[in-house]
């Protein structure tokens, strides 16, 4: 009985590994397409950053994000999922002072939601396997970064320049996400 279960577990593990390998390629393709669309939607939001130079602030983006080549595929999944989740959280806040189109925001939120749905099964599986990795540390640093963003918006009372500055930060996040997606290849 034990041997039978062991064999089944081994087969399931091999199959899951194969399935994950295949899903990484598909996930990478989906991520790249979705991120390109999100960036396009964000650029459609009117904004003049050159006029908000005084509102600039250093929100302390994690340094490891700038050296993403160190990430493993599993770490990249965790970080990508966290970033998408935080961006989704920020864009659901009050942006009325910006004059942005709600349709564009909704499309953007929908795209983010679909990306998270694609990543969630893999993200949960990785969370169950890994105890403490570089991805977990980066996620903690990212949470602090996004907390600063939210606090900035609140302090600026969600004014136009504050949202402009945050928009720029979100665009930077998508650039990082594009890099991380590139590490999902086999």
């Amino acid at each position: 009985m034990t041997h039978r279960c062991l064999l089944q577990m081994v087969l399931l593990l091999c199959f899951s590994t194969t399935a994950l390998s295949r899903s990484y390629s598909l996930l990478r393709f989906q991520q790249r397409r979705s991120l390109a669309l999100c960036q396009k939607l964000l650029r459609q939001l009117p904004s003049t950053p050159q006029h908000c130079l005084e509102a600039r602030m250093d929100f302390q983006m994690p340094e490891e994000m700038k050296q993403a080549q160190q990430f493993q595929k599993e770490d990249a999944i965790l970080v990508i999922y966290e970033m998408l989740q935080q961006i989704f959280n920020i864009l659901t806040r009050d942006f009325s002072s910006t004059g942005w189109s709600e349709t564009i925001i909704e499309d953007l939120l929908e795209e983010l939601y679909e990306q998270m749905n694609h990543l969630e099964p893999i993200q949960k599986e990785i969370m169950q396997k890994q105890n403490s990795t570089m991805g977990d540390t980066t996620v903690l640093h990212l949470r602090k970064y996004y907390f600063n963003l939210v606090q900035y918006l609140k302090s600026k009372e969600y004014n136009r320049c504050a949202w402009t500055v945050v928009r720029v930060q979100i665009l930077r996040n998508f650039s990082f996400l594009t890099r991380l997606t590139g590490y999902l290849r086999e």
Partner: protein, 530 residues
Amino acid sequence: MLLSQNVSAIGPLNLYPMVHISLVFGISYVAPVLSDEHCTLKMRFRNFQSVLSWELKNHSIVPTHYTLWYTIMSKREDMKVVKDCINVTRSFCDLTDVWVNTTDMYIPQVVGFRENAKLVICMGSFFLVPDKPLDPPEFEIVGFTNHISVNVKFQFDSPGILSEELQFYLAFIEEHAGNSVKRHQPQITGNITKNFNYVIDKLIPNTNYCISVYFEPKDPRKINRSPLKCTLFRPRRESESSESATIGGIITLFLITAVFISTVMILKRIGYICLRNDFPKVLNFYKLSVWVFAELPPLEKVATVEVIHVNRKKKVWNYNYDDENDIENEAAPHLISGGYTKHGLTGKLCPTSTTSPSLEDCSLEDCSEPSAEEPYLPEPKGDAETPMAPGPGLWQSEGTSGGYQTRGTLWQDPTSEEDSDSTEGSEGRIVFNVNLNSVCVRALEDDKDSEVTLMSPSCPEETVELEDLNETESSVLVASEEGTQLPFTNPSTECPRPQDAPSDKSDTSDPDVDMGDGYIVRQVNLKKFN
């Protein structure tokens, strides 16, 4: 001169030209335009080369030179001037080596001057996003004996951006062979600046291969492939080695096949495999006729044997010849003349056969053992039909099939304890053949002195003539009811009579004469016993 004349007549009339000149200078001063609407900034980011260009919308304002400054949005930093774009007369600026961070937003500021006056200030915001897919790099292909080398040349002059960004723009090499396309993904490290070399092996000889190189854009839907460059892979030296390898492979395969076949043949030869199933014909049971009509074994030759029972009482041979007591029993011991000891014949029916007169089964007891045997005195039967034989027994010769007769007479021991009446009642007659070579026979002679008839008083006398026992021809003793004379060998030859004539002497005193052939003759006067 005009000014000096205007200055001498200074009065109210002389002050008018000075004021006029002052107003002219005031009008000619133009304040700088600080608005994006008056400028159009364009950023071209291609092949990792970023070029910022600007164009004034109001053509009436024509600066004589421009200066470019920039800053970033991620940090609160002051404007930085681009060294290569200070007081430039052109309306563009190459920022490839300046703007290297593709994740940050750059805020450029273009200031148009006319002489030292700022005429226009234009600002913008840009991310380094390629507006078009990366142009495919230049490459060269070289065909070798066993592989094709692809030398990719990067046309990027910015090592900084190349090391950081190129790894995210995956380079692919497509291998076209017929209708099949295989994509190779070379590993590009950050140190690569100019070019790199990629080797494509495991190619099919005598096949046309076409190579294409391109960068994978961030948008997977936009791929800018390079034109195909083809070469015919025709290995030269390797072809020979491949041919030799092919020949060696064929030879090896042939040897393996030969070894296998020889092994199978050996195993078949020794009977380990493929056992023979061709059984001998005798084991062929498919012939039903054999099953149904089995050949009967040859019939045995049956010979009829006529057995003549002669009841004789057992008689103890007593050599005391002085005793003249009569013997009550009918089976008075009859002594054979010449001193032969008669032995009881214990014959059995022998098969009647005309071809094989082997009658060893019907052999008589050897007459060379006289003392050990009880004397056998034939007792003639009352029945005339009973054939009597003078000798100790019946004989039968073995011979050819021609002279072989199947009838013989079996004598019963006259000294048997059986009632003599049984002899009278024995009607059965057993006829068998006696091998004359195995018995000693003696012809009955009409000799008063020594001869004694072998017949019992109750039996008719019969003279038996025995043939020479040495003769191989059959000498048949036929006992019949008529009392046929039986051939009788001359005892003088086979069983030569002893030289000494028999006399009324005790048996013990009678000398034994060696007749030769193992026979011992005893001369016994049997008259006393009659």
